[in-house]
């Protein structure tokens, strides 16, 4: 099962990668919305996208707009991972399936991602 993690913080990307890969997920990473979009348009089809919101170049909101506009990508389940105080609000606003609040609890991360397995 494939997971795409989008976050501008390399330490966060590495940490996600370690946790998920140890559980057998195939993980790819992108440092901002634009990089993620490039990867998807080159054919990557993750089973779930973990999306940070505050990122330079193209932030999570902008990425989400582009994703929803693209029929090939709009159906990919997306989970936002944010340090916002009220992530539910952003989740509703962005029409995503779920949200995880930073700091991320590993168990919650794994159970959330696990829902999209196969």
């Amino acid at each position: 099962m494939k997971v795409l993690v989008v976050d501008d913080d390399y330490a966060v990307l590495d940490a996600f990668k370690d946790v998920l890969e140890d559980e057998g997920y195939e993980v790819s990473v992108a440092a901002n919305g634009l990089e993620a979009l490039k990867e998807l348009r080159q054919g990557a089809r993750p089973d779930v996208i973990l999306l940070d919101l505050m990122m330079p170049v193209m932030n999570g909101w902008e990425f989400r707009q582009e994703q929803l506009r693209d029929q090939a990508l709009s159906a990919i389940p997306t989970v936002i991972v944010t340090a916002h105080n009220r992530p539910e609000e952003s989740a509703k606003e962005l029409g995503v399936v779920s949200c995880i609040r930073k700091p991320v609890k590993p168990e919650l991360l794994l159970s959330t991602v696990g829902k999209f397995r196969g």
Binding site: D8, D9, Y10, A11, V12, D14, A15, F16, D18, V19, D22, L53, M54, M55, P56, V57, N59, W61, A83, H84, N85, R101, K102, P103, V104, K105, P106, L109
Partner: protein, 497 residues
């Protein structure tokens, strides 16, 4: 014959006596009915005659006075006695106006010499004197009032003008009494007629806030209270106006409002900062939490070999958290004036090289090429770790906002000053934001896109100012920013701390 003559003589004498008695009686009636106290004194100052009103004013019956000396035990005042003596001795008419302490009354006295002494006419002027005193007292109050006190007639002609009015409006009483009140009226105000209308109806106008015109043409905000003035018959004949300059009150109110807005803005900024700080702390906490989870799992499954590298990365997140905490503490240190410098001989080139070395990985990951021109030997008396913090802040900003383009750090020496520039070719800063970026909690770039507490440049500026140095920025949106630092090699005055 002589009998007839004698009889006629007797008759005539009787007639003239009767006539004289009639005259005397008439005189006495007159003296008794005049509105002045009257008495006559003989050459020995003895009372010869005292009329009814004199009895009343002096508070003695005429029987007690007639035949007794006016100089001893008399109800006459000192001033009265002096005047009487003078009239008697010099044969002149004398006047006296004095307070009689025994009677507790003011008396006006006229003394006229007569063939066998003097006659004294006097009247009680206590009420008039008290009214005059009251009037003087009121006039003194009006004159010493801080407020402008003005009276005008119903046509709006100024009839009196106190010192307060002169201070407030600039006109002297001579200049303006007799002139129309409209001299004080700004051209675009028409509240005077409304006020006069209310006065004509007998109403008072209180604490009416308006604007008036000074002699020099400037406007002054005032509070007006206007009351009708009535004559003895109760007819309204004019208005008394009190005007108070409320410039200071207005300024204080405006100042209060400004402080309130500032406090609100400060509270908002603080609130926003706390939210940003919370966000910033959660990012390294996320990494740390996940790293520890992985570490535990790997140790449990016997993959110790991969643990060491993870520990290294975890400790980097701890350093990051420490730095954030330090920044927060710096804010407290700086705002409470407790930023202490540990000054020592420091090589700027060495500091720059060290920072560049530490940022090799992050600059590379951001795709920024880092060029450093920092010769060793630019030494000054500085706080080494604070200088490191300054260079670190500027470099991490350049990486963060550098858009993956080359970054250049250049250090040089200019006689007694060290110069440092950090240049990126990134997103740049708009002119209006350039003024704000050195303020606390400010980050020009959208907080939706870039992390950071928004404190770095503020702390940087504070550190440099503590070193008597300065920082400035030149930037063009889309073309990048150049931060330039000028730092004196040693503190002014040569002191080490």
């Amino acid at each position: 014959m002589w009998l007839r003559q004698r009889a006629r003589l007797v008759e005539e004498t009787q007639r003239s006596r009767a006539a004289a008695e009639a005259v005397a009686g008439e005189l006495e009636r007159i003296l008794e009915s005049i509105t002045d106290g009257f008495c006559s004194l003989d050459r020995s100052y003895r009372y010869k005659y005292v009329n009814r009103l004199a009895e009343e004013i002096l508070g003695r019956r005429r029987e007690e006075l007639v035949g007794r000396s006016a100089l001893e035990g008399s109800p006459m005042s000192e001033a009265g006695i002096t005047a009487v003596r003078k009239a008697m001795e010099q044969g002149e008419t004398c006047h006296a106006q004095a307070f009689n302490p025994a009677l507790q009354r003011w008396l006006a006295t006229d003394i006229y010499p007569s063939p066998d002494g003097v006659v004294v006419l006097f009247r009680d002027i206590t009420d008039r004197k008290r009214a005059q005193e009251e009037l003087r007292r009121l006039a003194a109050i009006v004159e010493s009032s801080e407020d402008a006190i003005i009276s005008k007639d119903l046509d709006g002609v100024i009839t009196s003008w106190n010192a307060g009015a002169q201070r407030l409006f600039g006109y002297t009483a001579e200049e303006i009494v007799g002139r129309p009140i409209s001299w004080l009226m700004p051209r675009d105000r028409d509240d005077m007629e409304r006020i006069l209308d209310r006065i004509r109806r007998g109403e008072r106008v209180e604490h009416f806030e308006t604007v008036r015109l000074r002699k020099d043409g400037s406007l002054v905000p005032v509070w007006l209270s206007v009351s009708p003035i009535r004559d003895d018959a109760g007819n309204i004949v004019g208005a008394a106006k009190i005007a108070r300059d409320v410039t200071e009150q207005k300024r204080q109110v405006a100042e209060g409002e400004r402080l309130y807005r500032e406090a609100q803005e400060a509270a908002r900024v603080r609130e926003e900062f706390l939210s940003v700080a919370g966000h910033e702390l959660r990012t390294p906490l996320t990494s740390l939490q996940l790293q520890l989870h992985t570490l535990r799992r790997r140790i449990q499954s016997g993959q110790q070999d991969k643990a060491a590298e993870l520990l290294g990365r975890a400790s980097m997140q701890l350093q990051r958290l420490t730095r954030l905490t330090e920044e927060l503490l710096d804010v407290t240190r700086i705002t409470t004036g407790r930023l202490e410098l540990e000054l020592e001989e420091t090589d700027l080139g060495q500091v720059v090289q060290g920072v560049a070395e530490r940022h090799k990985e992050s600059t590379a990951r951001a795709g920024c090429e880092l060029r450093v021109v920092a010769p060793q030997g630019i030494t000054g008396i500085w706080d080494r770790s604070r200088l490191d913090q300054v260079v670190t802040n500027l470099l991490s900003n350049a990486v963060k906002f550098g858009n993956g383009k080359p970054i250049e750090i250049r250090a040089s020496l200019d006689t007694s000053w060290a110069l440092l520039t950090v240049r990126d070719q990134g997103i740049g800063i708009s002119p209006e934001d350039q003024a704000k970026i050195f303020e606390r909690f400010e980050q020009a770039a959208s907080k939706r896109s870039y992390g950071g507490l928004g404190l770095g440049l503020w702390i940087t500026r504070q550190i440099l100012e503590a070193h008597h140095g300065r920082i400035e920025v030149t930037s063009e949106p889309g073309r990048g920013s150049t931060f330039r630092i000028d730092l004196p090699l040693r503190p002014p005055g040569g002191a080490l701390a």
